[in-house]
């Protein structure tokens, strides 16, 4: 590109701006804009680029020598929050050109500029002073500066304007008192919304509006008055009264924050920083809201009503009703709190503090853990103790899974709702119903709960697992698929051998559950066509079973149903695993 520039101008690459201009002028006589617009555009483009290169080089050269750049006039620097405004001492006068007579005496002009430097210095000192804000002093210094006669001269005026806008913008809210006189004097209101208006000016105009709005906020009947007053004071998280105020005013504070963020962003500087931070944290994390309070009260009220008649627990009557209400309300409150602290808070802290640094076994360990619990539940002999252990282990694994994962569901789930969950796992229901029908209540619970937990965990938290699966080596994946196949064979064996043995039946159900749940994992990593094949295969199988089903109704027998359902499930799982294996090998 640059070679074309120099060729168009007919020069060798140079930094001499005069030479570039001369070349441009010479070329311009030939290619003038009226006769040859296209040629002129090319020429002008080349000229602009050459001059920009030369100017940039000149600026770099001069900076090295400590002199100001050749092309003068203060450029407006970008406003950064921590930027210091320009040193006021820079505003010394450049000596006037000797061949132009200034009407003002040079001495008078010098004097006025010296005075101006004093004024800017004083204003600067007052503003950046570390101590409390001297509003009156700053305002007076600002007025004195704006009245200075040195500002009549346009170049001084321009530089003071740039300096002042940066000083004000970088030091809000200390410089609030300077805004109105500056905006009036420099007519910044007229420049609002224009393309070339610097960000500092727009920011100052915004602050001007916000200061007016803040005045309105102090009126008692303003919509956001209570929220504003709450946020002006520091937080007191230990005081229960303050906590209660928090819960009651939460919606108001949220509305106020929304309003601030959209319409009055500079007002954030007027809130107490601790308070603002506490609320921001509060809104991000999980919290018990008014709805939970309402739920507890509702449960308590309903329980009270149920406890009134004499036939209920505690003998009925008012006392019975109240006790009823308190106990059940307390239970409800306990459940809500348990969920909040066990799952929501844990998840919040996990997301905030540990997620990024956690090792794989914590992030994904719930998957093999849930399957292991399911297997153990199937193997363990039926009994209250083993049931309790199995159920509590399963719940723990569920909490683990929901805390750690529980992100956006995988491709297999349509939306983040329970409907699709039921759809995806629905085909398991008849199997479970039949399988667990024979078992006693506790034994059934022992197997069912880990099964449900495994299903839930895998359905809702499949994303991370699938990503991990994709990261494994192909051989490892094939190996895992093979072991799943082996488990399937084992399940088939146990089904056939179970007969009337309840324990073996439970084991069979558990094994089939493991296979069914685990066989879904590889699907997440498959491309869409393979997935479609899997779905179609399973669909065909289910349709075939439905069609053939009525024939088998002739001979209803619990365990034979179990065998039939189990067989169908295993067949489906086997087909899925086979397809997955083929797909993996094909990679």
């Amino acid at each position: 590109m640059s070679r074309g520039v120099w060729r168009t101008l007919g020069l060798t690459a140079t930094r001499d701006q005069t030479a570039i201009r001369r070349a441009y002028a010479a070329r311009l006589r030939v290619t003038n804009p009226e006769d040859d617009p296209e040629g002129f555009k090319t020429l002008r483009g080349a000229y602009d680029q050459a001059m920009a290169l030369a100017r940039g080089q000149a600026a770099r050269d001069h900076r090295g020598q400590g002199e100001p750049a050749v092309i003068a006039i203060a450029e407006t620097p970008a406003v950064a929050a921590s930027e210091e405004p320009a040193d006021p001492a820079i505003l010394t006068a450049d000596p006037p050109r000797p061949d132009i007579a200034a009407p003002a005496q040079p001495d008078a002009r010098e004097a006025a500029l010296d005075d101006l430097n004093l004024l800017t210095g004083r204003l600067h000192a007052l503003v950046v002073d570390e101590g409390p804000v001297d509003t009156i002093g700053i305002h007076a210094a600002g007025e004195a500066l704006l009245r200075s006669p040195a500002l009549d001269e346009i170049s001084v005026h321009g530089r003071v304007e740039t300096w002042l806008q940066d000083l004000i913008a970088c030091n809000l809210p200390r410089t609030d008192c300077l805004i109105d006189p500056s905006v009036a004097h420099f007519r910044w209101q007229e420049r609002s919304g224009r393309l070339e208006t610097p960000g500092a000016v727009e920011h100052i105009l915004l602050r001007q509006d916000d200061v007016v709005y803040r005045r309105r906020l102090r009126a008692r009947d303003h919509l956001h008055n209570r929220a504003f007053r709450l946020l002006e004071k520091p937080p007191r998280p230990r005081s229960p009264i303050w906590r209660l105020r928090t819960i009651i005013n939460e919606r108001r504070v949220r509305a106020f924050f929304d309003n601030l963020n959209t319409a009055h962003p500079t007002l954030h500087a007027d809130l107490d920083p601790g308070s603002a931070a506490w609320w921001r944290e509060h809104f991000q994390g999980p919290r018990i809201g008014v709805r939970s309070l309402m739920a507890v009260l509702a449960v308590g009220a309903v329980a009270f009503l149920i406890g009134l008649p004499a036939s209920s627990l505690f003998g009925g009557g008012l006392v019975g009703g109240v006790l009823h209400g308190l106990i059940f309300g307390g239970l409800a409150a306990g459940l809500i709190l348990a969920r909040f602290y066990a799952i929501d808070m844990a998840r919040h802290h996990w997301r905030r503090d540990w997620r990024d640094a956690a090792p794989d076994w914590i992030r994904l360990g719930w998957a093999p853990a849930s399957l292991a619990v399911l297997l153990l539940a199937g193997l363990a002999p039926p009994g209250t103790a083993s049931t309790l252990i199995a159920v509590s282990l399963a719940l723990a694994v569920l909490v683990w899974a929901r805390t750690v994962a529980g992100e956006r569901p995988g491709r297999l789930d349509l939306t983040d709702a329970y409907g699709p969950l039921i759809w995806a796992n629905g085909y398991l229901f008849p199997f479970w119903l039949v399988g667990l029908h024979q078992l006693s209540f506790m034994h059934g619970l022992q197997v069912a709960v880990p099964l449900i937990v495994a299903g839930l965990a895998f359905s809702r938290s499949l994303n991370a697992l699938a990503a991990y699966w994709s990261g494994l080596a192909v051989r490892l994946r094939l190996g895992l698929l093979a072991s799943a196949g082996g488990l399937a064979a084992l399940a088939a064996l146990s089904l056939v051998l179970a007969g009337e043995n309840v324990w073996l039946q439970a084991l069979a159900v558990a094994l089939i559950g493991v296979v069914a749940v685990a066989s879904r994992t590889p699907a997440e990593a498959h491309p869409l066509p393979v997935l479609r094949v899997r779905y179609i295969a399973n669909g065909v199988l289910i349709v075939a079973v439905i069609m053939a089903g009525p024939m088998l109704l002739l001979d209803y027998h619990g365990s034979s149903w179990l065998v039939m359902f189990g067989g169908v499930l295993l067949l489906g799982a086997a087909i899925s695993l086979a397809i997955s294996a083929v797909a993996e090998r094909g990679r």
């Binding site: 555009k41 450049d94 003002a104 346009i154 070339e196």
Partner: protein, 573 residues
């Protein structure tokens, strides 16, 4: 006539006054009109017989026949606003055409040969519509408009920017009747380059008049309760009185502003000091365009070689003082600010006619406003903001220019992308002027995956061409911005013929007409004794006219003029 080169005149078509000049004998010469003045007021009036009166006579008739007179129609050029004079409606360009026709006649009388080509000046801030309207006005007057020249460039030419050998930076400070333009021009190696061109098109001498009118209203407003703000006879009286007072204050320390309304005289004494205090906000407004052009061109005020003052309002001492304080030195005023633009136009006309006296000078110009399209911005929280202006050609880009920007779709499966083309300086398109729109079909894809290239080409006459091209599919659409009041050749011819058919008083009558109009105005303005006196003078003059004896008429005219000068001061332009 010299060597068969064609004769092109240069015309300054101003808001308040117009002038015409020619390049002859190696210099620019102003052409005097039928009254012997160099400046012709841009005013058109219709008398009871339907005949057109142009110039000073028309301006004098403004207070006596306000509904048959029109002034300051330059502000409405490019719009379709019509003014009713007598029994006919006039477009602003038709009124300008009448003025141009009068100037053409003056030039032909002066040169003794027909004139068919002209260079007409326009404010640098004029947009495409306004420039086209000015061209049409020239055509309607029977002039081939060779070139539209920007007024600041003309003024710089007048100050010899093209003859000075070394690099020169000129700042042209043009404060006219209604507009304020600041331009920075640079001359190097025989090239005159416009570095920046800005202004405030709602600031001018008229605004200073408004200050005086406001002062009058403050004192007497209660008595004039029934009179409306504008478009009313009393407002015209106030305007004329304000103008006179303002000029008087340029020479003296205090002046009396007086009008006569319904037989009563209302007077207010104003001092120069009071005017300066009242004008402080206006003088402060002068700073902003100057700062903007210095910033746009990245030039320090110290590096300017000359500050050129153009426009009648710059003759006010308060303005001159403000400019002197602004730049720390005296501005250049060696050429009459009212005449500089016409002289510059003549110089340009001479350049176009390739008169051997002038060397080759090339002028480049800039686009005085930003051109771009509207876009949609996606904010951090995911919401979208509509109506954001995306500039494609920045203000003060040298023209002709061609710039290109890339845009993409904002929604999935978008079928069409709509570009609305705007001109202006505001970040929100709602504050800018819409020029047109263009729609281009795009292949349906995800948001952001389709790229459309938009190219703006702005030519030297202010014609904007927009090309939109979809990079994936190669679909192209083009739009050339033409104003919707496009007139065909036949229309222009028809309108020109219609205007030509309007009767104008013969040249010889102009002086008498102007004087009678002035006397009529004085009659209306004065009361009691002075009014009777003026009435008698008018009667005397009309008697002299009836004799049809040239010498009687001439001496009668001089006597009446002298008497009126004594009563109200000399006539001003």
């Amino acid at each position: 006539m010299f060597g068969g080169c064609r004769v092109i005149i240069g015309i300054d078509l101003g808001t308040t006054n117009s002038a015409v000049a020619i390049w002859r004998d190696g210099k620019a010469e102003l052409i005097r009109n039928s009254l012997g003045h160099v400046l012709t007021p841009s005013a058109v009036s219709v008398d009871d017989a339907g005949q057109i009166i142009i110039g000073l006579a028309a301006r004098e008739r403004q207070s006596t026949h306000p509904f048959q007179t029109s002034t300051a129609f330059k502000r409405y050029m490019g719009s379709a606003r019509t003014t009713r004079l007598g029994d006919r409606d006039f477009l602003p360009e038709e009124l300008s055409a009448l003025v141009l026709r009068a100037l053409k006649a003056d030039a032909e009388a002066f040169l003794g040969e027909p004139v068919t080509e002209a260079v007409i000046t326009v404010p640098a801030y004029f947009n495409d519509k306004q420039r086209k309207a000015t061209r049409r006005a020239g055509e309607l007057a029977g002039l081939k408009v060779e070139r539209l020249l920007n007024e600041p460039t003309a003024a710089a030419l007048a100050y010899g920017i093209h003859t000075a050998g070394q690099d020169n930076l000129f700042l042209v400070f043009d404060l006219g009747g209604g507009t304020f333009d600041v331009s920075i021009l640079e001359m190097f190696e025989g090239v005159i380059e416009v570095r920046a061109s800005t202004g405030d098109n709602r600031l001018g001498g008229e605004d200073f008049n408004e200050l005086l009118i406001t002062a009058m209203r403050a004192k007497f407003g209660a008595r004039w309760r029934e009179a409306a703000q504008a478009g009313d006879a009393i407002y015209e009286l106030l305007r004329a009185a304000a103008e006179r007072t303002r000029r008087a204050l340029s020479a003296a320390d205090s002046a009396m502003m007086s009008i006569t309304w319904e037989g009563e005289v209302f007077e207010l004494e104003i001092t120069a000091q009071e005017l300066e205090t009242m004008a402080a906000p206006l003088l402060a407004r002068l700073r902003e365009p100057v700062l903007r052009s210095l910033r746009d061109s990245e030039i320090a005020a110290e590096n300017l070689r000359e500050i050129v003052m153009v426009g009648g309002a710059t003759q006010m001492p308060i303005v001159r003082r403000a400019v002197t304080r602004m730049f720390g030195r005296f501005p250049a005023t060696s050429i009459n600010p009212d005449e500089a633009v016409a002289i510059g136009a003549a110089i340009q006309a001479g350049l176009k006619a390739r008169d051997a006296a002038l060397g080759e000078v090339v002028l480049t110009d800039v686009c005085p406003y930003t051109l771009g399209v509207d876009t949609v911005e996606r904010l951090a929280n995911g919401s979208m903001r509509h109506g954001i202006f995306a500039p494609i050609i920045d203000r003060n880009t040298v023209i002709p220019a061609s710039r290109v920007e890339l845009f993409s779709t904002v929604q999935d499966s978008q079928r069409e992308v709509h570009f609305n083309i705007f001109q202006g300086e505001s970040r929100q398109v709602s504050d800018n002027v819409k020029l047109g729109s263009i729609a281009v079909p795009v292949p349906p894809k995800r948001a952001g995956e389709v790229q459309i290239e938009v190219r703006f080409t702005y030519d030297i006459n202010g014609l904007l061409e927009v090309d939109a091209r979809v990079l994936d599919s190669g679909e192209k659409r083009q739009l050339v911005i033409v104003d919707d009041e496009h007139m065909s050749r036949e229309d222009v011819e028809a309108r020109r013929a219609a205007l030509a058919a309007l009767k104008v008083h013969p040249r010889d009558d102009h002086a008498n007409l102007a004087l009678l109009a002035r006397a009529g105005r004085c009659y209306e303005d004065f009361i009691a004794d002075r009014r009777d006196y003026v009435g008698r003078l008018i009667a005397q003059f009309e008697t002299a006219l009836e004799t049809q004896n040239p010498r009687t008429v001439e001496s009668g005219r001089l006597a009446l003029a002298a008497a009126l000068d004594e009563l109200e001061g000399e006539v001003w332009l």
